[in-house]
């Protein structure tokens, strides 16, 4: 098999090729390793997708369902002995003594660690411009951002530098970069994948998920990493994810919320989504309007709750035990200088926001109120799912924007997650699939389902994907 043929294979197809003996796991891994290493060595002259790339092909392992398919993993997943910095300077040189549960499960299923991917520092960002390793570039247009925070994972998969990648989504950090890079990205039901070993941003929202070339790959990855983990008290017993096979949507009701598919959404994005809904109707689906009255408040609630949790989660980076430590004469100065030098501006901004929101006298007005909004949003979804099976909206209000375009205006950056944050607050599964191009740039369509509907959500996405026939090849490097 030629290198070109190998790169055309989805992860599922690559695993099958290794299983049938058409391809050796070693050749598969080395093909990707060489490409990933070249991107790493090129730095900002390449796409800057990776923070670390494997030095060598892993030793041959006993046969397992994933047959040695290489996987790229977002930097914030702890892997024993492998640099894991969550895109931050404050973890400079940190190599964890243990491996994240999700990564262990994928390895046990036969996946091999190819590389760690660049990301926004501590997953805080929507453009991958907040990384200690520099920005990631969008393979569709190198002057544009890949989205974030799992920007390195999305760009690597889109560019064919990795067959698939693992990311995390707190308010849209898998779905939005997947949309901007023209690939599939899924945030499973909160609790489906163990968070143990994921460097935390906002614990009640963080969820690991796949970034893949197609829906079948997303299902395959989720199948091999989901399930209850005794190390994560919030993880769930979930039903096994089955390989998606649907080609029709007969009898399914798709709800389009005007709150997420109207004002503020770029015309080209809306148009793409509308034509996809027509395709859905052609597959037998009923498309109806639904209301999510509190969804417009989701972003405000999110920017209280997520920073509040982050301000506490990031307190451990104090220079005492690991990572960066600034020299100083006393304890307070050491703390202050370490955190001053180690955290980037967006992380500092969110720590301050969160600290303020939790302060005595302000807690009820901010944190308490935001929690109540969160409950209302979850109730909105529950009500909507009484009348529709899935909720459909654009994933991102815009296509990929230019590097530097939003860095000076945090609020405009925060709006990138306008369509994805409501599902995060409700803890429900949502998937973004590429549905077309607008001005030559990919547009993502988001499908969301009720909690624990992950398997059938993937099935519906698969049917749509088959009808859309998105061509990703323009992004290959």
């Amino acid at each position: 098999m030629s290198a070109g043929d190998i790169l055309e294979l989805s992860a599922s197809a690559a695993a099958a090729a290794v299983d049938s003996g058409e391809l050796s796991a070693r050749e598969l891994f080395e093909t990707y390793r060489v490409r990933a290493a070249a991107d790493r060595d090129a730095g900002i002259e390449g796409l800057n997708c990776f923070t670390w790339v494997a030095d060598e092909v892993p030793a041959e392992a006993p046969p397992a369902p994933l047959h040695g398919v290489p996987i790229a993993i977002k930097d914030l997943f702890c892997v024993e002995g492998v640099p894991s910095q969550a895109g931050s300077r404050i973890l400079e040189g940190y190599r964890p003594p243990y491996t994240a549960s999700s990564v262990s499960r994928l390895r046990e299923a036969g996946a091999c660690l190819l590389a760690k991917t660049n990301q926004d520092e501590f997953a805080m960002g929507s453009s991958n411009e907040n990384s200690a390793f520099g920005p990631v570039l969008n393979p569709w247009d190198r002057a544009r951002v890949p989205g974030g925070s799992s920007g390195g994972s999305a760009a690597a998969v889109a560019a064919g530098l990795a067959p698939w990648a693992l990311g995390t989504d707190t308010g849209g950090s898998i779905r939005q970069p997947a949309a901007l890079c023209g690939i599939v990205g899924m945030k499973p039901t909160y609790g489906t994948v163990s968070r143990y070993g994921m460097i935390a941003f906002a614990s009640s929202l963080d969820q690991a998920g796949p970034l893949t070339r197609d829906v079948s790959d997303a299902a395959l990855m989720l199948r091999h990493m989901s399930g209850r983990d005794a190390c994560d008290a919030t993880s769930l017993h979930s039903a096994s994810v089955e390989p998606p096979s649907a080609r029709r949507l007969d009898g399914l009701r798709l709800g389009v919320p005007e709150e997420l598919a109207g004002e503020g959404i770029e015309a080209g994005v809306l148009e793409c989504c509308r034509s996809t809904l027509s395709l859905a109707e052609g597959l037998g689906a009923d498309v109806a309007e639904v209301r999510l009255p509190h969804a417009p408040h989701a972003l405000a609630a999110y920017y209280v709750l997520a920073p509040a949790e982050a301000s506490s989660n990031l307190a451990r980076f104090d220079g005492v035990r690991y990572g960066l430590r600034a020299e100083a004469d006393d304890l307070l100065a050491m703390y202050t200088r370490t955190r001053h030098d180690g955290f980037g501006p967006e992380v500092k901004r969110r720590i301050m926001l969160g600290t303020y929101a939790l302060s005595s006298g302000y807690y009820e007005a901010y944190y308490g109120r935001a929690q109540r909004v969160r409950t209302k949003i979850a109730e909105d979804f529950a009500a909507a799912f009484q009348s529709v099976d899935y909720i459909v909206s654009p994933t991102s209000p815009t296509v990929a924007f230019k590097l530097g375009e939003r860095t000076s205006d945090p609020l405009s950056m925060y709006l990138s997650d306008y369509c994805t944050v409501p599902m995060s607050l409700a803890g429900i599964p949502a998937i973004s699939i590429p549905c077309g191009l607008s001005d030559g740039l990919p547009v993502g369509l988001q499908l969301a389902g009720p909690a624990l509907s992950d398997s059938r959500l993937l099935d519906a996405a698969h049917a749509l994907e088959q009808a859309i026939e998105f061509d990703p090849r323009a992004a290959r490097v």
């Binding site: 243990y98 070993g197 994921m198 949790e309 451990r316 939790l358």
Partner: protein, 496 residues
């Protein structure tokens, strides 16, 4: 004018509180739970092991690690709640208490805050405010002269203790004197020891007590401004610290000053209190619900299991000792509140000694004669004196087969040599009581001869003069004679 303790006020040691003032004290007790593993991870608890050998990603707060609540600690918490008669929350939640300190690797302590496991309750005459679960901090060791963080050359952290499960028991401000505090804390200690939930050792830190102390004019209803006292790591220091703080506050108030709300550190070496922080410097802990943990939901099965494991508790046992054994209230409490003495008494009563010892006499011998011969606080069950031997001995005393004095000598032998059979010792040492027979009458007659002057005076009505005569008899019989019997014989032979 307000005053704090920064000057290092030295407490007045005489401890007398002027009658015009009433101290009001509430206690906050931290109890290390004797679970196998830590509160939120699988590390075994550590007692004096090499530093940083009982640690993992979770208790070191490594990035990405997550806590999982220890079910055994919850079980112990429920047992404590049941023992104190608390209301048990069907659903309690953990919060994060945020502050920076090197002994706190996550930058927050996981603790219960708004919804504790147990609310209310009572132990003895003190009401319980709440009981909640949390994790212990690591241990900071300050290298250098002072042993405290200020003025030390370096500080090192031992994370072995970090994450040890703690139950924090908070009382209502129902205590009124240092002595009452230490008495009550002893009752709590015995209760917790009986429950088997903790080693409850103050010196080793498995039982730690802080005190909130305020003083108000006698008869006032409103509470005065309180100070929180820390670092009183023995019953003696607890009393001394509280006494010193009461004296300081009374002195401030008597001068027309105002007590400042602050946290004080008690230094037992100097008996001084120094201010750690004032109210203005108090932390804003930014509590919020711990998103990494699910609520602790208590079901009937958990409650049933906790109830099933509840032993008889000291207060109930004291009541039973009074009711069932007819012990005096004081004696019953003494034996019940020191569980090892109570256990020993019950073992002695169950030994089936013949003649049978009366319970009160046996109780007195256990708590007085035997305990007095052992190290303070020692468990008599680990002495050489078996409960059966003591029961037999007290039975012989009660049947007047051996005098009290001789029995004390037998007990001395038992303490040093052990042995099952006090009767054999009595036999061997010739300590059997001289009954009222001819042998004793002859000794008495000889004693009267030897103390002719005293005998005259007794005959003349001076009762006190009988002492030397009885003393001679006792000496001659090596204490084997019964004092009452000797007195009777003396009077008989003197014809009075």
């Amino acid at each position: 004018m307000s005053e704090n303790a920064d000057a290092g006020a030295k407490g007045a040691s005489d401890g007398a509180v002027p009658a015009a003032w009433e101290p009001v004290i509430g206690l906050e007790i931290h109890v290390q739970l004797a679970t196998a593993t830590k509160m939120f991870c699988g590390c075994e608890l550590s007692f004096g092991e090499r530093p940083n050998t009982h640690t993992c990603a979770v208790c070191l707060g490594l990035p990405g690690s997550l806590p999982v609540a220890n079910a055994r600690a919850v079980h112990f918490g429920l047992m404590i709640g049941l023992a104190l008669g608390s209301e048990l929350a069907p659903r309690s939640i953990f919060h994060r208490k945020n502050y920076f300190y090197p002994d706190l690797p996550k930058g927050y302590q996981i603790s219960q805050y708004e919804e504790p496991l147990c609310r209310g309750g009572r132990l003895g005459d003190v009401r319980i405010h709440r009981v909640h679960l949390e994790e212990d901090a690591a241990k900071l060791i300050h290298v250098g002269a002072s042993g405290r963080i200020h003025g030390s050359d370096a500080s090192v952290v031992d994370f072995n203790r970090g994450g040890t499960p703690l139950a924090e028991i908070v009382t209502e401000p129902d205590l009124r004197s240092p002595e009452q505090c230490s008495e009550w804390l002893k009752l709590l200690r015995t209760t917790l020891r009986q429950l088997g939930v903790s080693d409850v050792n103050m010196e080793e830190g498995s039982l730690r007590c802080d005190a909130n102390v305020s003083v108000r004019p006698a008869g006032a209803r409103e509470l005065g401004t309180k100070a929180e006292l820390k670092n009183m790591n023995s019953f003696r220091y607890l009393e001394r610290g509280i006494r010193a703080e009461i004296a300081r506050q009374v002195e401030v108030l008597q001068r027309g000053g105002e007590v400042v709300q602050e946290t004080l550190h008690y230094d037992p070496a100097s008996d001084r209190l120094t201010s750690l922080r004032s109210k203005e410097e108090a932390h804003d802990y930014r509590y919020f619900p711990e998103p990494d943990l699910i609520p602790v939901a208590i079901d009937e099965r958990m409650l049933a299991r906790a109830r099933a494991e509840l032993p008889e508790l000291p207060a109930a046992r004291a009541e039973r000792f009074q009711r069932q054994l007819g012990l005096s209230r004081e004696s019953a409490q003494l034996l019940a509140f020191r569980a090892e003495l109570g256990d020993y008494l019950e073992a002695a009563l169950a030994a089936g000694a013949e003649p049978e010892p009366p319970p009160q006499a046996l109780a007195n011998w256990v708590s007085g004669e035997l305990a007095g011969r052992l190290d303070e606080g020692a468990d008599p069950a680990s002495s050489r004196v078996t409960a059966a031997a003591l029961a037999a001995l007290v039975g012989l005393v009660s049947a007047k087969r051996v005098s009290v004095g001789a029995a004390r000598q037998v007990l001395d032998k038992l303490v040093t040599e052990g042995g099952e059979d006090p009767a054999a010792i009595i036999e061997r040492e010739g300590l059997a009581a001289l009954d009222g027979g001819e042998e004793l009458a002859a000794v008495v007659a000889a004693a009267l001869d030897a103390n002719a002057d005293a005998a005259e005076r007794v005959r003349a009505g001076n009762e006190k003069a009988i002492g030397p005569i009885i003393g001679t008899v006792m000496r001659e019989t090596k204490g084997r004679a019964d004092g009452g019997e000797v007195r009777r014989l003396v009077r008989e032979q003197l014809g009075i």
